[in-house]
């Protein structure tokens, strides 16, 4: 394909990204854009052109080392989740917009820490960016079948890079507030993450299934190649240590790379999105690596013995197979990887450049002048900054990195960035860590890396250009590396371990020895114990001095504009209940103003600006600690108060519902007593009137006399039965009726009940059918109570059974560990709506045929209580003829079964 066609394609592609980004800006609050998936996908910006091409090159030439770049982050993920969550909380509260800002703020809002960190990062990332540009240029030449020319002016790849640089510069600087979200950029990056994954998978599938005959075929052919086995195993302890070191390096860069910080912290919208990222990102890393190995070894098989660049196998294979479409798609995937990395990296670098280097140093004098309106200037600086950085990377690539493989340059950059690790993790988890420790530690580490890795590389490059005739070996670095590597470690791991070791050692020792100041101590407290302060951070800022709100306001107006300043002030006053006429600023206001400015110009510059209009008193370290302790206690107290209030509210709710329950119970009790007195008076009335007749009527015929006497006896019995049943019921309802459990067989109890009632069966001529006589399972139950239930149910059945012959059927069954009993008769049906009501106290059927012939109306109510006390169920159902009353109880009813109720 021609260069022009590719360039047109590139412009079209960037245009598409731009449209996506514009669309995302327009619908910036859309569900998809603000959701967890776009966030998680944007974190995959980690996979740059390095992944796309470099990994394949490493896999092809040195075997499994390529995996370390992904094993590191994969191991990191559980930690990543916890640590990033902490940083997100800190950054949200303090409006932090870059890793340099984070460290500067932690170490006492320190201009120097911010500057050194920024410098280190820029130093490390430029070669890294150069790698990306190299990848674009190389792949461009592969796709267009052209060769790199020595003059970059005639090399059309240069123009591709120029286009990307302009695009990034224009795109990356669209927002003034550095801590503001950039939904457009993130949407584009997420889209690119999808594209690069898709196209690499496509290439992988193409290689495995179309070029070769499946993975087995590929493996068989590759395993015949020389060195296959040696390259694809980790050799002994040495190999393992090197492998582990490289994984650690990647682990660290996943936290420390500025673009990772930017997408995972600055662009995070909701803390809970981390949960999605915690599984989606590892999955993504896994998928994108799925075909690295097959493509690498497929390339090795196809191009065996030829001089080709293994880095670009993913392009060469489809090209070799004459498949233009896949070649182009892979190129676009690589472009996606590069462009997203380039944009995010250059945005975060340019923010650091302006906020941590240019503003605090270059403009520190002018910035105080009231006529200095920096907004447009800052945006311009950022644009130029991004463009310059990319050009610098371009120069770097054209002059130094040409003959270095992608991975080694990238690794050196990683080792440099890793020097931030002690300051970074120490700052988050160790309160004693301080500025001097950080600066000295970093200096030590960086120097070691410069001597061991950077210098030899530069010398080698110079030598390659014939500029200097000093060899790496003459300089002796290789010898040193060999010595300190103890013959085990490769140069990169050796440099990593020694630099980190000295860095950490110096950092810890100096931190402990050096005197810290109160501002650092203040932020140390706020960072390490962020969870204490997350709701009331503004109170955790210790500041004492004299300042006027109106002075600070003037500064805010210059950077935020009149409208936003006034709105912010209004909100601040409302939230903290400060009168509008109050002009004396307190610590809360100072922190509030610093935060507002920090989002725009970084924490260090914000501090410089505020300091210019305030007169701060020095506070002793002890006092800071005391104030912090105080505010911590206040927060605790507030929390406890809230908790106590909550408990009180719950308690009163509880009381209210208890009261309501009591009232209903009271009402029920009244109702019950009414019915009880009525029910008691009825037999008394019968007894009384019969007795009166017997007393007064001398001429009472013998027949009547006997009838009235019989009435007296029956009604007295009824009265007695009623009284015992009422007492029984009351004992159940008040919970005084404890059951005494024994293991018994239901059929046996039933037998004894039927024996006592036998005469009634005979006298009423009722036929008894029994089923399930063979069931002899032992059940835990209260035999007296179950006896009572049976007596009641069979008694009722006897009352209502009718017809010729009248039949009572009793079935005992065992199903699913539950014993079920059914007692049915062939009498009249109960109206459906009354089936549940018959178990109520004193229930009387509206159907006169069912009118109790005798009995209290409490029998079934007591049965229900007995069965419930056995954790069972009791119910009634109509049969074709008659009614069945059934109950079921668990085999062991002593304990309440888990699934009941």
């Amino acid at each position: 394909m021609g260069s022009i066609a590719i360039i047109v394609l590139l412009v079209l592609y960037l245009g598409l990204l731009f449209i996506v980004a514009r669309w995302a800006e327009k619908f910036r609050n859309g569900k998809l854009l603000t959701g967890p998936y776009v966030y998680a996908l944007s974190i995959a910006v980690y996979c740059s052109a390095w992944t796309y091409y470099g990994s394949i090159g490493v896999a092809a030439t040195s075997g499994l080392d390529y995996l370390t770049v992904y094993v590191g982050p994969l191991i990191a993920f559980p930690f990543w989740y916890l640590i990033i969550r902490k940083i997100i909380r800190i950054s949200r509260i303090n409006k932090i917009s870059s890793i340099a800002d984070l460290l500067a703020l932690r170490y006492g809002n320190s201009r120097s820490v911010g500057a050194w960190v920024s410098l280190l990062i820029i130093l490390a990332v430029i070669p890294y960016l150069a790698l990306q540009l190299k990848a674009i240029s190389e792949t461009f030449h592969v796709v267009t079948n052209t060769n790199e020319t020595s003059s970059f002016l005639v090399d059309s790849a240069s123009y591709v890079i120029l286009i990307i640089a302009v695009f990034s510069a224009f795109y990356g600087s669209r927002f003034f507030d550095a801590s503001e979200k950039r939904p457009g950029m993130i949407a584009a990056v997420a889209l690119e993450s999808i594209l690069k994954l898709l196209f690499l998978l496509l290439a992988g599938i193409f290689v495995v299934y179309f070029v070769f005959d499946g993975s087995t075929d590929l493996y068989n052919k590759a395993s015949e190649l020389e060195g296959f086995a040696e390259k694809n195993r980790i050799d002994g302890a040495e190999g393992a240590v090197n492998w582990f070191s490289l994984s650690l390096l990647s682990f660290l860069s996943f936290f420390l790379l500025p673009r990772q910080f930017h997408v995972s912290v600055v662009e995070n919208r909701k803390e809970k999105h981390l949960k999605t990222a915690a599984w989606l990102v590892p999955l993504y890393l896994f998928l994108i690596n799925l075909f690295v190995f097959p493509i690498a070894w497929g390339g090795n098989v196809l191009f065996e013995g030829e001089q080709v660049n293994a880095d670009v196998y993913a392009l060469l294979i489809p090209q070799y197979m004459d498949n233009q479409v896949i070649t182009l798609l892979v190129f676009l995937g690589g472009l996606s990887a590069t462009v997203s990395m380039t944009i995010v990296a250059s945005v975060s670098l340019s923010v650091m450049l302006t906020n941590n280097l240019i503003l605090p140093f270059g403009l520190s004098k002018r910035i105080h002048r009231p006529d200095f309106h920096p907004t447009a200037l800052i945006v311009r600086f950022r644009q130029i900054g991004i463009f310059l950085l990319l050009m610098l990377a371009f120069v770097f690539y054209r002059s130094f990195a040409m003959d270095y493989s992608m991975v080694s340059v990238g690794m050196i950059a990683f080792v440099l960035i890793a020097q931030l690790a002690p300051a970074f993790f120490g700052g988050l988890y160790w309160k004693t860590a301080n500025r001097k420790g950080v600066l000295w530690g970093m200096l030590t580490g960086v120097l070691i890396v410069l001597v061991l890795l950077v210098l030899p590389a530069v010398l080698k490059a110079f030598k390659g250009y014939g500029l200097l005739e000093i060899d790496m070996d003459e300089f002796g670095a290789a010898g040193i590396l060999d010595t300190i590597g103890m013959g085990i470690l490769d140069p990169i791991p050796a440099a990593l371990w020694w630099s980190l070791l000295f860095n950490t050692f110096v950092f810890v020792v100096v931190s402990i020895l050096a005197k810290t100041d109160y501002r650092q101590r203040n932020y140390a407290e706020m960072f390490v114990d962020i969870d204490h302060y997350v709701d009331s951070h503004i109170n955790a800022f210790v500041w004492r001095g004299t300042a006027y709100i109106s002075d600070v306001e003037k500064i805010l107006v210059r950077f935020l504009g009149e409208e936003r300043t006034q709105r912010a002030l209004r909100i601040f006053r409302q939230r903290n209940q400060i009168a509008p006429e109050e002009d004396l600023a307190d610590a809360r206001f100072i922190k509030f103003a610093e935060n507002l400015l920090a989002g725009r110009i970084g924490t260090s510059s914000a501090r410089i600006l505020i300091q210019g209009v305030t007169k701060e008193e020095k506070i002793s370290l002890n006092e800071v600690l005391r104030i912090l302790e105080e505010s911590k206690r206040q927060i605790e107290q507030n929390k406890e108060l809230v908790k106590a209030g909550e408990e009180l509210r719950k308690l009163s709710e509880h009381l209210q519902s208890a009261n309501e329950a009591l009232l209903t119970k009271d009402k029920e009790k009244d109702e019950f007593l009414n019915i009880v007195t009525h029910e008691l008076r009825t037999p008394i009335t019968a007894i009384r009137s019969a007795s009166e007749i017997l007393r007064d009527d001398d001429e009472l015929p013998e027949e009547f006399k006997n009838r009235f006497l019989e009435n007296i006896i029956v009604e007295s019995d009824r009265l007695n039965g009623l009284i015992s049943e009422i007492l029984d019921l009351e004992r159940f309802d008040s919970g005084k009726n404890a059951l005494s459990f024994e293991q018994q067989n239901l059929n046996e109890i039933l037998n004894s009940v039927l024996a006592t009632l036998n005469h009634l069966f005979v006298s009423k001529n009722i036929r008894l059918i029994r089923n399930g006589l063979e069931v002899n399972t032992l059940v835990w139950l209260d035999p007296t109570r179950i006896h009572q239930v049976f007596t009641n149910l069979v008694g009722n059945a006897l009352k209502y059974a009718e017809g010729e012959p009248a039949i009572i059927e009793i079935s005992v069954t065992l199903k699913d560990g539950v014993q079920e009993v059914e007692v049915s008769n062939n009498g009249p049906n109960i109206p459906e709506e009354e089936l549940d009501l018959i178990f109520d106290k004193f229930y009387q059927s509206a159907d006169s045929r069912l009118k109790k012939t005798q009995g209290s109306g409490l029998g079934l109510a007591i049965c229900r209580r007995i069965i419930l006390a056995h954790h069972g169920k009791i119910w009634a159902e109509n049969k074709k003829e008659g009614v069945a009353v059934c109950f079921s109880i668990p085999l062991d009813s002593r304990e309440k079964p888990e699934d009941s109720l």
């Binding site: 009525h678 008076r681 008394i684 009335t685 019968a686 019969a690 009166e692 007749i693 009435n711 509206a846």
Partner: protein, 121 residues
């Protein structure tokens, strides 16, 4: 001979009442529940009704209402006989249109006296 209808769902109470009023020269008709009472009143026009209140299906109040709305029976003397004997039960019964309210348990002698008085006035 005065005709009296006695309605109660308790057989033994009904037995005592029936015996006593027959003895006192009443023409006695009995109904064992509300439904039966309504059927009875289709063809008996009594001078007085002794009416239990708490009965299944059709209770004493419904029967009283039926009587008071009946073109022929509307002036029949009605005496409630009930085990519900709280003050508000009594006044509720009288307000509904009963001529007297007798609480259970009652004295048969007094009940007969009260019935006779009502029939004279």
């Amino acid at each position: 001979m005065k005709k009296i209808v006695i309605v109660d769902d308790e057989p033994s109470i009904l037995m005592s009442l029936e015996y006593t009023f027959r003895k006192n020269k009443f023409d006695v008709f009995i109904a064992r529940d509300g439904q039966e009472a309504l059927e009875l009143l289709e063809y008996v026009e009594p001078d007085l009704i002794l009416l239990d209140i708490m009965m299944p299906k059709v209770d004493g109040y419904q029967i009283l209402k039926f009587i008071r709305n009946h073109p022929v029976l509307k002036d029949v003397r009605v005496v409630f006989v009930s085990a519900k004997n709280k003050e508000q039960d009594v006044s509720k019964g009288l307000e509904a249109g009963a001529d007297a309210y007798v609480a259970k348990p009652f004295s048969l002698k007094k009940l007969v006296e009260q019935v006779n008085e009502l029939l004279i006035s």
